[in-house]
């Protein structure tokens, strides 16, 4: 009899445990998203600014009540810019129930693309990875959202044209000799031909610290009127110093998005970088509603506002998180719970004219265009600040779209 009792109680307890467990699962109104980060690898100077930006924005959203009452859990996984760790990071986020990820680093985006397609988990790859991933029909689960390297190069050429470049103008393209650096070459060549510019390309071999000869060539032999620069890591700062040393006006140098951070200006010296033109896909500075909210969040918690708030890469982190949150919001509102990768994908594709109070260009993502239009804005280095030099604009959209079509046919 005694043993019977025990069995019964164990049974009841077991059922209770199962019920509580199931209830826990059911009532989990938490939405899990994940992002990779590189805080210790070769791009740590970007990662240590970008990732806190994303974290702070998610924290802000949760503080304001989450997405329609659901809190967002953001898992950050360090991968030190290594491909195998990147795969591990993605699998860990998937394991934790992540419905959307941020992929960090061009080689990692390449390696994870097949996994995103297979698992139907959309990956946000702002400013990384292949330009042709903007084609939503070929890569349904990859969302660059920010301007791709193709769009950036096209926009740089458009800017040059607006500034008075005409047929016969000499334009130099100086690039880091890796896939990311070479990616815009096709666009550059095509626009050069179309406009009749005299163009030349200058490759900077990795690790990108030796470019005295290339810059000398650009400034003295070729006597370029315009320079489009696409460099990474330490290279942008070195290029600024070299151009400066050769007396080349820096307001004729247009850098694509990874050579336009405060870090580069600090490394080159603000004094030396005056007039340098850098391209951005998110606003720079603290003068935006969303950044004011983040600052007041810090102040309410009695913490000092870190210096990085409002800097280029921090703001890009905010941008990334804002896109994720907007995608999740649209997914929850239009397709209901539980949120799945497929719903988030459709959510992203519903984003229209999303500007976050002027912080972003008027982004519109569609099922075909995962790039959001390829908007950029050029900022100028003035004093110890980056100040807007142009409005948000797109360049040679027809050329970019045509290249996308060509890539799809291959």
């Amino acid at each position: 009899m005694q043993s019977c009792f025990a069995t019964k109680w164990f049974g009841v307890a077991g059922v209770l445990v199962i019920l509580v467990g199931a209830g826990g699962l059911l009532s989990a109104d938490e939405i899990v998203v994940g992002g990779q980060c590189d805080r210790t690898g070769p791009t740590k100077f970007i990662g240590t600014l970008l990732c806190p930006g994303a974290n702070d924005y998610i924290k802000l959203v949760n503080k304001k009540g989450g997405i329609n009452g659901h809190t967002v859990r953001y898992i950050e996984v360090e991968h030190a810019y290594k491909v195998d760790r990147g795969v591990e990071a993605y699998e860990r986020i998937k394991r934790e129930g992540g419905v959307a990820t941020v992929d960090y680093g061009t080689p990692i985006v390449y390696a994870l693309t097949p996994r995103h397609m297979e698992d139907k988990i959309p990956g946000l790859t702002p400013g990384f990875g292949r330009a042709d991933a903007a084609d939503g029909e070929r890569f349904p689960y990859i969302f660059p959202v920010a301007a791709s390297y193709w769009s950036q190069a096209a926009a740089a050429m458009k800017f040059i044209k607006d500034q008075g470049a005409a047929a016969g103008s000499k334009v130099a393209y100086i690039y880091y000799d890796n896939p990311a650096g070479r990616e815009p070459l096709g666009i550059f060549r095509r626009i050069c031909e179309q406009e009749g510019y005299g163009c030349r390309e200058f490759a900077v071999p990795p690790p990108g610290i030796e470019m005295a000869a290339a810059v000398l060539d650009i400034t003295r032999r070729m006597r370029a009127e315009w320079v489009v620069s696409h460099l990474f890591g330490k290279a942008p700062a070195i290029s600024i110093r070299e151009f400066r040393k050769n007396g080349f006006p820096l307001n004729k140098v247009v850098s694509l998005v990874w050579g336009a951070g405060e870090m580069d200006m600090i490394a080159a010296g603000w004094k030396n970088a005056q007039g340098y033109l850098g391209m951005q896909f998110a606003g720079v500075g603290r003068d935006f509603p969303v950044l004011r909210e983040i600052i007041s969040m810090y102040e309410e918690e009695g913490q000092e506002v870190p210096e990085m708030v409002g800097q280029v890469y921090y703001n890009r982190g905010v941008f990334t998180a804002a896109i994720i949150v907007e995608g999740l919001r649209l997914a929850v509102e239009n397709f209901g719970l539980p949120v799945t990768g497929e719903k988030v994908k459709m959510g992203y594709e519903l984003i229209t004219d999303f500007t976050l109070g002027g912080f972003l260009p008027p982004l519109s993502v569609t099922a075909q265009d995962h790039e959001g239009g390829g908007w950029v804005r050029i900022y100028e280095t003035k004093g110890e600040d980056l100040v807007p030099h142009t409005e948000w604009f797109q360049g040679y959209r027809d050329v970019v779209l045509d290249e996308l079509r060509k890539a799809a046919q291959e």
Binding site: C37, R39, T40, T48, C51, P52, N55, Y74, E76, V77, E78, A80, V83, D84, R85, V87, E88, E91, R92, K94, R95, T106, P107, Y110, A111, T113, P114, E118, R130, D177, N178, P179, R182, E183, L185, G186
Partner: protein, 360 residues
């Protein structure tokens, strides 16, 4: 079952020539292989693709490390070009599979063979130079191969230097989940492991070791240096090529950025930590280098969140760098305790139990 050497008598030549003469060793190997084969079962039940992907990564790295150890550990020819050789295998497989529709097994074999040829080419300097000088020559291999792959559009497949391949499939069976891909890698890993174990106890392996210990003496006793040095490069590169091709099929993309110089150095680190001149050591090294950073990351995150209640994000910079620090300290610790690597440590353990409990 746990008979020692003294209790085992071979009555046939086959028995004497077996890879493992001791029943204990044979049974341990069987158990380990069985465990490796059954490893996915609990993971499939828990649907844990995360741990499976870690295991696959380790197995992949182990293949490359075994190959490098045949060259560096057994033959004594230092190479910093392992990454580049893997690159050759990876791109060969990708080109064959994506452009010519070849099946994956052909891609893997062809990747290995092409890389063996490239390895022979870059092994030629080893006939004249040794040691650190050879290391620099293989460093050149790394840079040259990387440059060629990057700048020949036919190989790289365009500016992005990356070629997508489909999921490998065999007789209609598609390796389309993490668990299935593990088996693909596991089979190759086992072949590579036992192949290497057999190779190093054969005439060829003894020739390799003779060259490592003193090449002039080896030449005097009749080892053809020209032939065996190049053979060592060929075999080692074959392994690298197979590993590279498998990486390609595992990720379903060939991209040279998976195999940069830092990766070559990582492989050297694997065999040094694992134990130069030991096949098992290469596997230990691969486990150490690939598993510890991830394990550290997982534990550090859970300690920070579970014990101290601090969200990882708030202290991420500190924790991420802390892991590097710990990992470095671990490497120094293991190398100080046993400079000859983890394989030698394992030998010590075995030797202790050989006499146990009557050790004097």
């Amino acid at each position: 079952m746990i008979n020692r050497e003294s209790g085992v008598f071979q009555t046939s030549y086959e028995g004497d020539m077996a890879l493992y003469t001791l029943p204990l060793a044979r049974n341990t190997t069987r158990v380990v292989v069985a465990l490796l084969v059954l490893l996915p079962v609990p993971l499939i039940m828990a649907n844990n693709e995360h741990l499976m992907s870690i295991a696959t990564t380790i197995a992949l790295a182990a293949i490359g490390a075994i190959g490098l150890n045949l060259l560096v550990g057994y033959t004594g020819q230092i190479s910093i070009g392992q990454g580049a050789f893997m690159m050759v295998g990876g791109y060969t497989a990708a080109i064959l599979s994506s452009r010519y529709g070849m099946p994956f097994w052909f891609g893997i074999l062809a990747g290995g063979c092409t890389t063996a040829l490239v390895g022979i080419l870059f092994g030629i300097p080893s006939l004249r130079i040794k040691g650190l000088y050879l290391a620099i020559a293989t460093l050149a291999a790394q840079l040259i191969i990387e440059w060629v792959i990057n700048h020949v559009p036919w190989i790289s497949g365009g500016a992005q230097s990356s070629i997508y391949v489909d999921n490998p499939a065999l007789f209609g069976f598609e390796f389309n989940t993490e668990f299935r891909r593990y088996y693909l890698v596991l089979v190759v890993f086992l072949l590579a492991f036992f192949g290497a174990q057999n190779l190093v106890r054969s005439r060829i392996g003894r020739a390799f070791i003779a060259i490592r210990d003193r090449d002039i003496a080896a030449e005097i006793i009749g080892v053809n240096l020209f032939r065996y040095k190049l053979l060592a490069f060929a075999v080692s590169s074959f392994y690298a090529g197979v590993a590279g091709a498998l990486w390609t099929y595992y990720l379903r993309i060939a991209n040279y950025e998976n195999f940069i110089l830092a990766v070559s150095i990582e492989y050297l680190a694997m065999i040094i930590i694992g134990g130069l001149g030991s096949v098992l050591g290469a596997v230990f090294g691969a486990i150490f280098i690939k598993l510890f950073p991830i394990a550290l990351d997982l534990t550090v995150v859970s300690i920070s969140e579970g014990v101290f209640g601090v969200p990882y994000q708030d202290v991420a910079n500190f924790l991420a760098n802390m892991q590097l620090f710990l990992f470095g300290a671990l490497i120094i610790f293991f190398l100080t305790v046993e400079p000859e690597g983890l394989a030698r440590m394992w030998e010590h353990v075995k030797r202790y139990f050989r006499l146990w409990p009557y050790s004097y």
